[in-house]
Symmetry: C2
Subunit: 294 residues, 2 copies
Amino acid sequence: MAVEAEDPGYLIAPDPGAARLTRVVEGVDHEGAVTRISVVEERPLTIFLNGREIVTAMTIGDYPEYLALGFLRNQGMLAEGETVLGVDHDDELETVVVRTDGTTSYEEKLQKKTRTSGCAVGTVFGDMMEGLEGVTLPQLELRSSDLYALAAQINRTPSLYLEAGAIHGTVLCRGARPLVYMEDVGRHNAVDKIAGWMRAERVAAHDKTLYTTGRLTSEMVIKTAMMGIPALASRSGFTAWGVEIARQVGLTLIGRLRGRRFVCLAGEERLLRDADPASVAEENVRHRRKSAEG
Amino acid sequence: MAVEAEDPGYLIAPDPGAARLTRVVEGVDHEGAVTRISVVEERPLTIFLNGREIVTAMTIGDYPEYLALGFLRNQGMLAEGETVLGVDHDDELETVVVRTDGTTSYEEKLQKKTRTSGCAVGTVFGDMMEGLEGVTLPQLELRSSDLYALAAQINRTPSLYLEAGAIHGTVLCRGARPLVYMEDVGRHNAVDKIAGWMRAERVAAHDKTLYTTGRLTSEMVIKTAMMGIPALASRSGFTAWGVEIARQVGLTLIGRLRGRRFVCLAGEERLLRDADPASVAEENVRHRRKSAEG
């Protein structure tokens, strides 16, 4: 199996012990006993692009700068060529301001849109589909041995998920190595934080695989393609449109990756089945992740 | 237990056999065998309020009129007193237009907002918190026997979830009776469809309980409170802020309701513990719902 000679570990891993990310909440259980439960935090974070308020995201609150950068990038509001002059997070105001050197194309588009329909809320989705038009993903080979190795490592990584539940996780990987593992309570914040990290650190996408605990919806597939990542794997299910878009853009899509099982929904020709499923252990109950909704 | 003399069944139940809601997708499994999987659909639906485009929701596509009405109601864009002249769904254009008799307060607010910050995307969340300020929920008693009866019935109800997974379910209940069971792939569409049904049918909220398969986030708690429903139960987890808001508005909040287990996180004083947990069966594996992310 394609395991690197020495395991350099994660570049960014979850920090389930961080004080600001969880809080102990008191409740009363079914037997009337007071119980104290560690639960994830959830805070508003308002993202600005230059002078313009774009969105308020609900987030656990780590890596606000990456979240803002990645959100704008994945929405097509911040092009690859644009120079980011600064990303300023104000913890008290719960804001992040991303400043660029001039008016971004999004701002022009928004102004036009505002004149025609009067509101920009509806453009977010349209812009994402529009942004996909030029996308062609690199034809990277994906090894099933790497998929198994990644799933096993990620499932055993200490995380907020294992600590407190009610959270989504997304991991940027290369080959059999998980590199950056982000978590968030907001549906797509985890993947946006990875996109922001990649943009800030100028990390190449062509040789990466994205792993997620969440469902493979159209939005998840679109974001992965917008990031230029050629493979997306999840332990969860998928929607019909998610599969359709993956096939259109040439994304290798793997669903229901649990233990030795998975299903390849798109890009089968780029999947190298180099591992014998019978040699892979079924998911150990002790390591089995709880429901992402748990 | 508070079971009604005869069970009149659901007013609206899931229709997992409906042709438009699922599609068979072909994949290749871990052993290289072609496999055909029934998965839920996901379509864009753009909601207009009078002449104004508000949002594009990703939805399975059933009950578009209820979804539009409920979304606008839960965002505080459509007040209780406003007269709805029509709700027009265009299947081909994938739009719903809600028409009212005059400019709604939201439109005025939007215009003001547009002048100050130039974009309305960020107002959605602010409006929801603002809408909560006047909310006081009725002090309804919630029986633990009803909670157990509801969970057992809902878990056994045929649904898209059991059929295809990757979907959220929300059920409007009164006492031990589930009334309206909505499902959707979009995170909060299921609860918005219930809100739309309640507004269209002029259904009282004060004696209802809302059950959801999803996590109890701040947004879910806010929506329930905006609807005037005094109790919210889920088989899933919760966030710290969701619990905090529930305590502020006087909502009875029940999490992790599975088999005989649950935890009451807010409104303990309104929970009547009339059932002996020991008499309740643990969740049957055959009936246990898969992960909402599955």
